[in-house]
Symmetry: D2
Subunit: 383 residues, 4 copies
């Protein structure tokens, strides 16, 4: 096995946001460390490392105060860069968090004019995304939250969010955009609490929408792991509900600030189960890396970072296949499957009449320590 086995190809559908490899390394305690790259330069960088596509927030591409002609020029230059480099734009999104106007929320702001502006801005971002044939529209409500729950009732925030989504779905229909909306949850940061704290919160919320069929989720590893939740379980619930419209891959140590680290670099075991799940179920969407390079890096390091994200995904994909084909693992799985073939529930009376020997049912070890250690062996490449 050589390092060349894990080269990214278009069919892997690896995408990056303009804001990821274009991240300049500023943080709450420090200045930017990398020069600004223009969107076409970022596209070139992504092509160089072998990515399939690029995604953007409206203002990643077009500055918020750009004139109409500036906008047109930027769009043209970016389109050219994408075409020349064979880079797609599968997803677009809208920035509803940077500007001071959204300091207390966008769709959920107490100020009706702010809410209207946020929706207007989103519509224009949808227009912009469609100019590049984006098929998915992600919504992350980074400011939809609170520092003090005195400022509004959380159920009122949900109603406002619903009103916004219903309106935007209508716009999607009216314009024949055929977007799939993918809602991205996060529990906190930059707000003390964000209203839709988890992917599951959005899954529940979506069921209350007028056009729920066009709305799904965009789970992010870091956002589920920040509160110590199991990302794969969140993804599984979304998948099982037919709502896994997009995914944000990165890595995160639990209980910390939003780290957006290189995919798989903190929790390779957990990311193994995630990649295995995506591959086993046949997820066909984008593998979007929503991460950025350490602040210690220049743009060569940014390329190392981006390459590393994709490489680790491919390594884990390969290991998932090895796991599925491992004889010893398969033997344990077969034993598990055997017990799964037991009693049917049947009629109530029948079930109530059955006698279960609960001690006998508990008598056999389940071999999960062995199964998990075999998994570690696969992960370490020692079998």
């Amino acid at each position: 096995m050589t390092t060349n086995n894990y080269q990214p190809k278009p069919e892997h559908k690896f995408t990056f946001g303009l804001w990821t490899v274009g991240n300049r390394g500023a943080d709450p305690f420090g200045a930017q460390v990398r020069e600004k790259l223009s969107p076409p330069q970022i596209v070139e960088l992504l092509a160089e490392v072998g990515a399939y596509g690029v995604n953007f927030h409206d203002n990643d591409l077009v500055p918020i105060d750009a004139s109409a002609s500036e906008r047109d020029q930027i769009v043209k230059d970016f389109r050219n860069a994408c075409e020349e480099n064979g880079i797609k734009v599968p997803m677009a999104t809208v920035n509803l968090f940077y500007e001071p106007v959204f300091r207390d929320g966008a769709f959920t702001s107490n100020d009706a004019r702010v809410r209207a502006f946020a929706i207007q801005k989103t519509m224009r971002a949808m227009d912009l995304g469609k100019e590049f044939d984006a098929e998915t529209f992600v919504l992350w409500g980074g400011r939809e939250g609170a520092e003090t729950d005195g400022c509004r009732r959380a159920d009122e925030a949900i109603k406002r969010l619903r009103e916004a989504l219903n309106y935007l779905c209508e716009y999607n229909i009216k314009q024949n955009y055929n977007y799939k909306f993918a809602m991205e949850a996060k529990p906190n940061e930059p707000r003390a609490d964000i209203y839709m704290a988890t992917t599951a919160a959005y899954l529940a919320f979506i069921e209350t929408l007028e056009h729920k069929e066009m709305v799904g989720v965009n789970p992010e590893v870091a956002h589920e792991q920040m509160p110590g939740l199991n990302m794969t379980h969140a993804v599984a619930q979304a998948w099982e509900a037919g709502k896994l419209f997009h995914i944000d891959l990165n890595d995160q140590y639990p209980g910390r600030y939003d780290q957006d680290l290189r995919f798989g670099s903190v929790s390779p075991k957990q990311m193994f189960w995630l990649v295995k799940f995506l591959e086993d179920v046949g997820y066909e969407g984008m593998r979007h890396f929503d991460a950025h390079a350490y602040r210690t890096e220049d743009y060569e390091g940014v390329k190392d970072f981006a390459s590393g994200c994709m490489r680790t995904y491919l390594i884990l994909k390969d290991k998932a296949e090895r796991w599925n084909n491992d004889e010893e693992i398969r033997s344990i799985l077969a034993e598990i499957e055997e017990t799964n073939k037991g009693a049917k529930l049947g009629e109530f009376d029948n079930l109530l009449a059955q006698n279960f020997d609960r001690k006998e049912l508990a008598s056999k070890g389940l071999k999960y320590e062995k199964l998990d250690q075999l998994t570690m062996d696969v992960l370490f490449g020692v079998r």
Copy 2:
């Protein structure tokens, strides 16, 4: 104001589980410190401290290996104790976590016979609860999880959980039990990961059931705060969805083992928002305290604990009313409401045509620091 203002009364609907005041103080590192109380003794204790009701798992009341005649005697004695002490049984539940047979799950076990046994056990617990006119049936799947995700796919677990719930809803109908099922989530402990990690996960899951109208949630403070989530936000989403069927009150420091501490004793500020929410929206269900006394206590201390739970609830309820009537707070809320009366969304073209001055919209301070400090003043009783 005197300490006598905060006496529990039946209309407050304060309930405790047999397992809460009956908890004997064992933990993973230590032996029991309190003698066993019989269920009738627990009922007496609850009457003494002024509780409204008592709840139980099947095996809190009837030991798992009790004979039919033992069962009947226990039930009779317990009924007598409840009647003599004026204690109701508003909720029943089933223990699907203690016995070794459930070591790898009950409804989601890989072993079909274990799943069938778990459902049978639940049906019998439903029968038992109905003998006391319980109206709510709580389900906490403490073992529905995994230490290694190799043992089953998480989406398979969801399917199994759905099959169980659909079956039990049918049984509920067949028996005319009219139970409302209340699903209780928890992220981990005793399993490394539990499948339905949050209240929101259940809210999403419920939408996929055949009789979703009879299934809601039972959010627990500790279980939402373990991963550092905002309990009030979880409750608000449940309430807004019409799914707040029950609630478990206690307290918990985030990022730790399941502490089940006296209500309000760790996070009085957060519990203030919670009580305020419940009272403001007119929640009429039980206020169930799912907590237990410190291991340093004897049964006098257990009474102090139980009294403290109810007292703190009533103090916070009183403070919520003061907050609502505080002139300075009302003035800030009125300003907030003023901005809420702004632009309507209207037609797409109209909205797109509007000009929003985002700098002007961001120019005014929102007075949330003041609002929150006024809240602290109310909480501290200094205004």
Copy 3:
């Protein structure tokens, strides 16, 4: 009791950093929302709200690229502002985290020139602080950490940190500055891991210094609570070791990004124990609020924030006194003290010969639930 009881006075020794009330509300996801205030303007604001003193990092006051004459003018203007407003400068510190040069550490950088530059910058910051008679010099090594432990061994980082501190202590002696150094720990953010993760880590480190008598700690509420540790316990260990040279007060929800919220606004119960400890032991140092206003605020809100920090401290101080004088609480404490008077250890043989009845010793409830609920009552102002 009226709201006027809690007015800050000079003897309370409430201080704020230039960077706290001067914080402009930027965060990793959003732009600044407040205009820049000059240092003299900040001093005026602090005087208006009743603070005792102001602290600064070198570059809070003097921009890093200021010329000598610019520096002199700034220093002069600031001194005038302090004198006119009766504001002291009890503490100074150095910014070793903002500039890209420190992206991989200052005192612990792998680059010897960066380490030398960091020490030089600190010496100059010491010079600057002494121009304002600062007595305490705080060192927060925000960049002394790593994203990948491959970059250096953690014990090597400790050695470098020691070399820097020993050198700076010598400089302190040489210059007759008489500074007390106060080391400030933090577990993470902006680095994935910071080397001296807790106050206790510094307490241990200090014992290895050549001039350990001149080095102590500056525990910060948020930094201890980020990993869910008990701030009061950290402070108690520092105090008991004679090393509590300074303290940073704010508030923080555990397991999240560094929030720096208004003192007492998240965890009033925990902050009650902290204030009670400081007052009970007679801590005479500064009460420094290292926090900032919500991003929703203008400078009126910043004043509300600053006033709220001090007001809550004074409320908690008052409650601590009430707690100490509460008859029922004193009665429980007296019972506790009674058991404290038991057997002396004496000679080994004597101790080994004693018979302890461990069941009898465990037979009595300790009344801690009652004690803690009485504490809640004091906190809520209902007794």
Copy 4:
């Protein structure tokens, strides 16, 4: 490479506590699932899997109420088992947490008789350990903490702890036991807060002891990771201070209950740095696995668990060596080392006179993304 490369041998010094492989699977929500093994049976099991030694708490071996003759028989049987199986006893410890008498602390209890009993019990445990030539005596103060900080001041607890340790050190001297004491920290569970929350807290505390040279620390992976701290950094500080007297290896997801999972099964990346550190510095002490098997397992599974702990250690040790010898990694490390050879600090005046070009110093990327991805490749076994 085959699976046979990673066989445990005596020189690896792998040890397990009686309570680890003897753990019967009970937890706060569930009954025991495995039959009790006698100490000699456990010794046989450990010999079978290839361990070097076994450790015990006094009451793991000798029940607390055993008569003198029972004690002698147990000791004799255990010694025989150890000798027959070639199993050493390198460490002993004392159980100061299980019995109700310690419900509010042992060395730090408010009750002087409890403190005396705890010390007496420890002395006897030291006697017992010496009968097996144990060289290290671990102290974990599982109950030295509080649920309410009203019960005692934390600095008072520290003084009591010091008194106990000073007394026990004297006993160690008097008896010529030559024990090295290894203090084990934990932040919480079973107490809401434990006083010595981190390894670093003990490192600081030890400096205040009368015989500090005979006291060091026993860092545990799970206990450092529960609050999300970096275990390797804690170990590095202990090592650098000459205080790494013992180590407890297991695994733990941050922000959760004490999981004590199979070594390396949750955080292989973090455990790689830990093993690499131990091997690089030449740590010669025991590698003690303080973990237990999943509750799904029978004793075959317990063996899988124990074997897995040792196997993963050896895999990681092998990978650490590969990392050290990897050409590309060495090349990056050489570049790092080059910058480490820069300016000396020299005299104050010289340092102050130097000109540092901070932009130039920040201009070069540090290649840490590459370094860390190469580490992942080594970990995955793909280079």
